[in-house]
Symmetry: C2
Subunit: 410 residues, 2 copies
């Protein structure tokens, strides 16, 4: 482990001063490499799929794991898109002359060595490896055990390209010891590792946050709300809340609890139920909701649950203040929305709610690096420090101050 | 503790939407409050000084602890300067239209509840309390035991002003249980506390980093180097390195190890020794240095020591590569400097060295929020994430995305 981490640190030094042209040419070769080696990648994936069947993995998990030609092609295209992104390193973020006379330049630099812990989807290996490389960071990847063969095949394609380009192979590395003990050791290596990004279930994230001495940027749950205000445009409201729940209910930006202003509940709830019925969404409502539409009972526990399923809680609240109070109690500071045409109510909600993304009249499912225009993403940060919301290449950088003096003394 | 933290969280909600005008008027009243109550502050400080004498505190520590009228006035002025800073909250940091049609605004927001752990100097209570308040954050302050009476007197002045302005008194709070156990509990309260800033000795910082579940921005040691290149202007070089060591040797930006290019060592070292002799600086040199000037022997341990004293290590290195290799081995990524007139060498050093502040031809003692133009500072971050180098009000903010839609669905 120690030799591995020392190599990672040494590779990080090489990457930090690599030109954009060199990085992008390697990235394009990686995309081509995935295409050229798709046979070996699909063979490796077949082994993982076989094990998945033997281990009775759910259909949803198996779908996440599965690769075919078009999914490998999608990985290649994602890497080409990352290559096409603006160079994130060496950007002058700010600059000024200090009173003492020297010039201060604040410039973006790589973070260094980044450990990413994730599950299931093998494309994350390619995406995160490429994003870290583009931003001059060494990636130490720890994927799920269920995707072991696929991840190894993908990483080996990327590493072969690095070698051919005379770049350190260890710049995109799989954690050699992928056991629980390996992770436990990795997250304490603060002399070698600069950042840990855990993507996955609550248990993993809690474990990492509690035991890591390396700084952590969490990718935790999204318990997202949409509040329909009395001044909402009802057609927009219905379209947005249906999309926020039903487009895909398994992602962190999916709607879990719909809040509705008591003033419009009687008029709007029947229409909302009708729309959700078309999607077979199970609705659990508060007592006031149940007085208006025929739905299951929402318990206190429902308000605190990220279903990631075709289930929705509905609660009638007393205006925007009621909505804000509920969100402050149960929200996970991920993505929250208000539907209203009222300027003052909208700004009050947007300014008061403490979350990475606060939406006015739009679906919370838009919380995504691609939709934000960041290209691919490492994930959605639920941290308040360093990076919040979708994390793209810019969020994989930090900064330093370059000070240009002429003999100044203090 | 729990009630205290719940109050802190509630106060944070109030502060987050407070207008700049209201914050600044309260800050100016705090400055005036310190002036009006200087008698009670000085009386409290006298108790601390008495205890310091009884406990045989060093002269340096007692000087840090001591307050008189002019030091209280300096605290008041510092708060007025913080009041005069540009409003840090609600700044639109970036903004664009996404492909889906909605507008995204990235705006600065407070971090929330910030715990700051520090030692000795009572003015930190006023400075950090005011900086957190200006940036809309609740401050939970844990000062050194030796400054207990002074800190309590200062905090009570600030809290009285908050009360008179009908603001939550707990917005600037002292940690109720200031024992080791109190700190141990505080750093694990990630549901209430958003950031811990430990300022102090290595043991404290190691303890906090290891046990905290709350994110930590460290204010760790500065083992700073200055490298004199063969293309240096010798007069600038001598002026800068004398200042970097001797202006104040107890600060984290002070020079600890001087690196000199072997090509110029024979010519320049005698002049350097002569200059340091005027400041009675003890020099410890490598073997090559000892061949040129008569100094003590530098051991391996010396290279790794932050003296914070009038002692300097000198090492002769093989050009800029030798300097970089040494700094990578022993530096603490705080402040590093090169003295050279050569453009290419300078840029190579500035780009390659991984540190918060990298200087060309200037003293590393400039690493300071005031010198950078940030006004007062919470300290000098040695973290790579979130904030690096001097931490002023901007570094006490995070951001959120406000998304202005018109019924967009994904």
């Amino acid at each position: 482990m120690k030799t591995f981490l020392q190599e990672a640190k040494a590779s990080s030094r090489v990457l930090s001063t690599l030109s954009g042209a060199k990085k992008n040419s390697a990235l394009r070769a990686m995309a081509q490499g995935l295409r050229d080696d798709k046979k070996s990648i699909l063979q490796a994936n077949a082994l993982d799929m076989e094990a998945a069947t033997q281990n009775n993995l759910t259909k949803a998990l198996k779908d996440r794991l599965f690769l075919d030609e078009s999914r490998v092609e999608a990985m290649a295209i994602a890497i080409e898109e990352i290559a096409a992104l603006k160079e994130p390193i060496g950007r002058v973020l700010d600059g000024w002359y200090a009173d003492a006379g020297f010039k201060i330049e604040k410039v973006s630099v790589p973070i260094g060595v980044i450990g990413v812990i994730y599950e299931s989807r093998p494309n994350v290996t390619a995406d995160v490896g490429a994003l870290c490389f583009k931003s001059g960071n060494v990636a130490i990847l720890k994927g799920g055990k269920e995707a072991e063969h696929s991840n190894r095949a993908i990483a080996s394609v990327l590493q072969n390209v690095l070698e051919k380009h005379e770049l350190p192979k260890g710049a995109i590395a799989l954690l050699p010891d992928s056991s629980r003990e390996g992770v436990a050791e990795l997250i304490k290596q603060d002399s070698y590792v600069d950042l840990i990004v855990p993507r996955g279930g609550e248990a993993l994230i809690k474990y990492v946050s509690t035991h890591a001495t390396v700084p952590v940027v969490k990718h935790d749950k999204g318990l997202c709300h949409t509040y329909i205000d009395k001044d909402a445009d009802f057609d927009k409201a219905i379209a947005v809340v249906i999309n926020a729940k039903c487009r895909r209910n398994g992602i962190c930006g999916a709607l879990e609890t719909l809040l509705i202003d008591e003033v419009i509940a009687t008029e709007l709830l029947p229409r909302i139920k009708e729309a959700y019925d078309l999607h077979n969404t199970e609705i659990r409502g508060c007592a006031k909701t149940q007085n208006i539409i025929d739905v299951h009972t929402a318990s206190e526990a429902d308000y605190a649950t990220e279903y990631l399923d075709n289930i929705l809680t509905i609660k009638v609240v007393e205006g925007v203040e009621g909505a804000i109070a509920h969100i402050e109690m149960y929200g996970s500071q991920h993505s929250e929305a208000i539907i209203t045409e009222n300027y003052t109510t909208a700004e009050y909600f947007l300014n008061t709610i403490d979350a990475a993304c606060v939406y006015l009249n739009a679906s919370t499912q838009f919380t995504d690096g691609g939709e934000f225009g960041f290209g691919a993403e490492v994930g959605i940060s639920t941290n308040k420090l360093h990076a919040r919301g979708p994390m793209g290449v810019s969020e994989l950088t930090t900064y330093k101050y370059k000070i240009y003096g002429n003999g100044e003394t203090r």
